[in-house]
Every structure is written in C-alpha cells, then in structure tokens.
C-alpha cells in the first residue's frame, strides 16, 4: 500500500463512520446530542494535542479559552443582536488574541510552572465570568443565544448540528495531520524533546510555541462558538478548572501525540458518564476507577492500545506488521 493511500484510508473510514452514525443510532436524538458534544470537545482536544502531545507544552487554561469564545458570541449575538457571522468571527478572533497576549509572556515558563500560570489565567477568566454579571449573566448563566444559521440554512435539528460539528472535527483533523507532517510539525516535535537542541538547529522556539498555542486556541474558539449556539445557553461552570483538567485527561487517555487518539479520548470520556448514569451513586467511583485502570494498563492511551491490538492480530495471521 502506498503511503498516501495508507494515510487516506483511515480518513475515508472516519468520514463513512460519521456519515453512518445517525443511521446506526436509528436517529436516537439523545445519543446524537451526546456525540455532538463529544465532537465539540474533540475539536478542542485536537488543538490541545498539538500543544501538549506534539510540542510538549501544557495548558490548564483551555477551558477558559473555550469559554471566552462562547461568551463573546453569546453576548454579541444575544445581547446586541449582531449577525451570527460577526459573533462567530469575533469569538474565535478574541480567543486567539487573548491566547497571544497570554502566551507571549507565559510560554517561556516550563512544565509545572507553565501549568500553574495557565491554571491561574483560567481561574481569573472563570472569576470574571462569574462576577461580570451585567455582561455574562453571572453564575446562573447566559440565556437566549440564537440558533446557528449559515447562508439561510438553520441548524436547529440535532441531526444537522451533528453533521456540522463533525465536519468541523474533520476539518480540524485534516489541518492537524497536514501540520504535523510539515516542517512546522517536525520543529514542534523537536522542541518537545529538547529545547536547547532544537534551538541550536535554528528553530525559533518562542515563535513556534506561540504559534501552536494560538493555533490550539483557535480550535478551542471554534468549539466555543459551536457550543454556545448548540446549547443556546452558557454558564461559567462549563469553563472552569475541572473542564481544563478533563481536556488534558482526554488528550492523555486518548494517546499523547496521536490525533486519532485525541478524538477517541474525547468521545470516550464524554459518552462513558452517560452509560454510568445507570449506577447512580457509584457513577463517580466507577468513572475514577476506569480512568485509573486505563492509564495503568494502556500507557500509550487508547490509540496505543488499538495499535498494539492490530499488530498482534497481524502477527497472528502471519503478515508483515
């Protein structure tokens, strides 16, 4: 199999799976809406994976970046009645701008110090969402965000929104796949392994880090806009510390530096609680235990687990791995 074909096969399979999912679920709108949320989270995780998995820079502020986009479009379209396009573009634009202003100073920090700085940024934004009641509606949330409409087509059904979100996941995935196979992608992986070594090879570290941080904030921004217009309601609790930690968990559980793994992690951690709801009081405990066991027995995440399984199967049937 040629290498292009080998790369395109999973993408084609992914498209088919997305197309077929609503039919496989027999248009069960409950599950469709959960998978729509999973898709929205998958977009953020794809961006965060570029930052964490490939470039090795952690961020506990992506929940806040996601929230900035959601609130921006909510306020512009909901309070001021501006067109949706203005809301969406400003939402993503403002998120990228904030990421750039924050990223420039904090990205020179390393490891846990960077985690702390981005955590602090996230917390400050979270407090702002809660306290700027006149603008954001405060802790009780912002109601009355209009339904998404693009060129006269209204995305008011779960089915149409499902396809919209997952098309955006596909766009984000293809963009990321392209990036990591480019000069930029290789530079990011190089600075992950050793900043000093990468620098001595002529890679501008500060610029590359800022680039990938802002790029991942654009992903989070797009997800935020999709989120606000899907639920038509946003509240600060969706954008706090917990959510940022959950995003990191999705990246690592899916498989660091595996874009497919990131999507799998987002879907797995969004869908699993819905099944655990059946156990009521035990829900949280089972969730925690599954997380522990997955991380203990799948060191390379879901993606690593699947790869290992596939290579075992191939070996059993006597084919070249």
């Amino acid at each position: 199999m040629s290498s292009t074909l080998r790369q395109l096969t999973p993408v084609a399979a992914f498209f088919l799976l997305v197309l077929a999912t609503p039919f496989l679920l027999r248009h069960d709108y409950y599950y469709l809406s959960i998978l729509t949320m999973a898709g929205i989270f998958a977009i953020i995780v794809l961006g965060l994976n570029l930052l964490l998995g490939f470039a090795g820079q952690i961020s506990l502020g992506h929940g806040a970046l996601f929230g900035i986009a959601a609130y921006t479009t909510a306020v512009l379209t909901g309070t001021y009645g501006l067109p949706l396009a203005v809301g969406a573009v400003s939402g993503v634009g403002l998120t990228a701008l904030v990421a750039m202003l924050i990223g420039m100073p904090v990205l020179k920090l390393k490891g846990y110090y960077l985690a702390m700085a981005t955590l602090g940024f996230g917390l400050i934004v979270y407090i702002f969402f809660n306290e700027a009641i006149g603008l954001t509606g405060g802790p009780s949330g912002f109601v009355g965000i209009p339904v998404l409409e693009v060129f006269g087509f209204v995305f008011d059904s779960d089915l149409s929104y499902f396809y919209l979100v997952w098309s955006m996941v596909a766009v984000a995935l293809l963009t990321s796949l392209n990036l990591i196979h480019s000069k930029y992608g290789r530079a990011l992986m190089a600075l992950h392994i050793s900043e000093t070594a990468a620098q001595s090879m002529g890679i501008n570290i500060a610029r590359h880090k800022l680039f990938v941080f802002v790029l991942s904030s654009v992903y989070a921004g797009i997800a935020g806009v999709l989120y606000a217009h899907y639920l038509n309601f946003v509240a600060p609790s969706s954008f706090g510390f917990h959510f940022s930690v959950q995003l990191i968990t999705m990246v690592v559980l899916g498989g660091m530096a595996s874009l497919w793994g990131g999507i799998a992690g987002a879907v797995f951690l969004t869908v699993m609680p819905e099944f655990l709801r059946f156990y009521e009081n035990l829900e949280v405990i089972i969730y925690g235990l599954i997380l522990i066991l997955c991380m203990m027995f799948l060191p390379k995440g879901l993606a690593g687990g699947v790869c290992k399984l596939l290579s075992n199967v191939r070996r059993r049937f006597g084919r070249e791995p």
Binding site: P105, V106, K108, L109, K110, Y112, Y113, A115, M116, A117, L119, G120, F121, L123, I124, I127, F128, N130, E131, S194, E195, T196, A197, S200, F241, H242, V245, I248, T249, V252, L253, M256, N281, L282, E283, V284, I285, I286, Y287, G288, L289, I290, L291, I292, M295, M296, P299
Partner: protein, 293 residues
C-alpha cells in the same frame, strides 16, 4: 488602613496560609521522590477533616483520639494509593502518573460522597470559640492552633529531612534516584514513605482547618489547587519555599478580600502569582533548571 485591620488581615491570612502551606508541603514531598504532582493531595486534606468528624460521631472517643484516628487512617490511604496505583506502573511517564492521581482523587471523592453524602460537616474547635482581642483585632483560638501546629509540623519535617537517615535517604532520591539506588537506598520504599508522609501532612492540615471552615466531600479541589499554587510560588521541590508560598498566598488573599473585594480575592492572588512567575520563572526560592542536551 489602621493597625487593627492590618493585624486582622494578617492574622486571617497567616491562618489560611499555613493550611495552604501544609498542602503545599504534601505536594513537595511526593514531587521530590517521584517528580509528579499528586492531584489527590487535596483529597488527603479533605479526608483528614471528614474522617475526624466521622470517628467523632461513630466511636465517640473524644476529639484528640478522633483526630489521631483520622490522621492515621488518611496516612493508610496514602500507603494504599502508592501500593495499588503508583508502584505497579512506576516506570510510566510523569503525565500518565498524574492522570492516575486524578483518577484516584475522583475515586476518593466518589467514595466519600457515597458514604457520607454531600453534607457539610464541622468539628468542634480545639479550645473553645471565645475570641482573643489583640490591639483591636479579634483572633479565634483555633487560628493559634492552626499556626502552632503548622509550625510544629514544619519543624519536625525539617528535622526529619536533615537529621534522620531515613529523611536524608528520601532527600537523596529527589536529587538523583539512580545515584540513590547505587548507594543502596530502596527508592521504592522512599516513594511509598513519601505518599504516607504527604497524606499525613495533608490530613493534619485538614483536621486543624475543619473547626474553622467546615468540610464536605469537595473541599479538596480548592485546597489542592491553592497548595499547588503555593508550592509553585515558593519554587517546586523546596519544602521551605512551599511553606513560605502558602503563607504568602494566604496573606495575599486576606488583603485582597479585605481591601478590594472578596469576590475577586482569588483573582488578585493569582494575578500576583503570575507576576512573580514572570519575574522569577522558577518560583521565589526555586533553583533554575538547566537542561542537558
């Protein structure tokens, strides 16, 4: 600002700050032997407080005995955590182990919620609630207990790490685990001890704080976050820095709440922390990292 309110802010800042400092010490101890940040550290603090209340109601052994039982039980939880979830995968990467500790913290929170619900619990103050007046400021006796016990724990840890062979062996692991192993130190045992020790320190913090601020299954998240902020502020890996970071954070919050607004007190504290980190990227008392190529 008059002297009385200055003293008042300082007293409440030092009180809260010393519990942050104890949580931060817990983070530091585990970081030093394993290189990971233990997200379940806040849960140790929560367990200390909740278990003390539980033992009080269940066995009614009197406050000191209930506290002792709670601290011992939490230390055992630390031991179990290391044995069951960290040791089997001790060669995993740091980020994987951190996610494991997130899983442990969720599980502990879930268990506490299952057994004791989402209610808020309080522990009686160690020596009454009659406030002490000092130069116009009002200080609750429990504040003095908190400060005093935090200082004692800090002094004991200092002695442990610099005087005892066991403590010095633990410290050796933090500098270079491979070299420590070469001179015959069992790194595994030190990691286990570090989890027990940090659970112990966390539990002590939880027990002394509970009479003042009450406790419930979810207080660990915020305390853990503050403890992490404190040890980063002081410089990760430095026990003195962790304690100092906790006090600074507590004082920042108290003055922020008193002078500006209590709604923004966390925001003010974190803006200052961000500023300090940009000025000193390895914390106030941390040593800058050098990278080998």
């Amino acid at each position: 600002m008059d002297l009385a309110s200055l003293l008042q802010f300082l007293a409440s800042g030092l009180t809260v700050g010393s519990t942050y400092g104890l949580a931060a010490l817990g983070f530091t101890i585990i970081f030093n032997t394993t290189g990971i940040i233990n997200f379940a550290q806040g849960e140790f603090v929560m367990l200390g407080g909740i278990l003390a209340v539980v033992f009080m109601h269940w066995l009614d052994p009197g406050l000191p005995a209930a506290i002792l039982l709670a601290v011992v039980a939490t230390t055992l939880v630390g031991l179990l955590m290391e044995r069951l979830t960290i040791r089997p995968v001790r060669n995993a990467s740091a980020i994987n182990l951190i996610i494991v500790t997130i899983g442990v913290s969720i599980t502990i929170r879930g268990l506490v919620m299952l057994f004791w619900g989402k209610d808020t619990y309080v522990l009686p103050a160690f020596s009454g609630m009659a406030p002490i007046h000092l130069l116009g400021a009002t200080i609750i006796p429990q504040s003095l207990w908190i400060l005093g016990i935090a200082v004692v724990v800090l002094a004991l840890l200092k002695g442990f790490f610099s005087r005892t062979i066991f403590g010095r062996a633990m410290l050796a692991c933090s500098f270079e685990p491979r070299a420590a192993r070469l001179v015959g130190i069992s790194v595994e045992r030190m990691v286990m001890a570090s989890f027990m020790l940090s659970a112990f320190v966390g539990a002590v913090g939880g027990v002394i704080l509970t009479p003042l601020t009450m406790t419930s299954y979810d207080v660990g998240v915020l305390l853990g976050m503050k403890g992490f902020a404190a040890c980063i502020l002081g410089g990760l890996g430095n026990p003195f820095g962790a304690a100092a970071g906790g006090l600074i954070l507590g004082i920042l919050e108290a003055f922020g709440a008193g002078l500006v607004s209590s709604a923004y007190k966390d925001a003010i504290a974190f803006v200052v922390i961000l500023g300090i980190l940009l000025w000193k990227p390895s914390g106030l008392f941390g040593v800058p990292d050098t990278e080998r190529v």
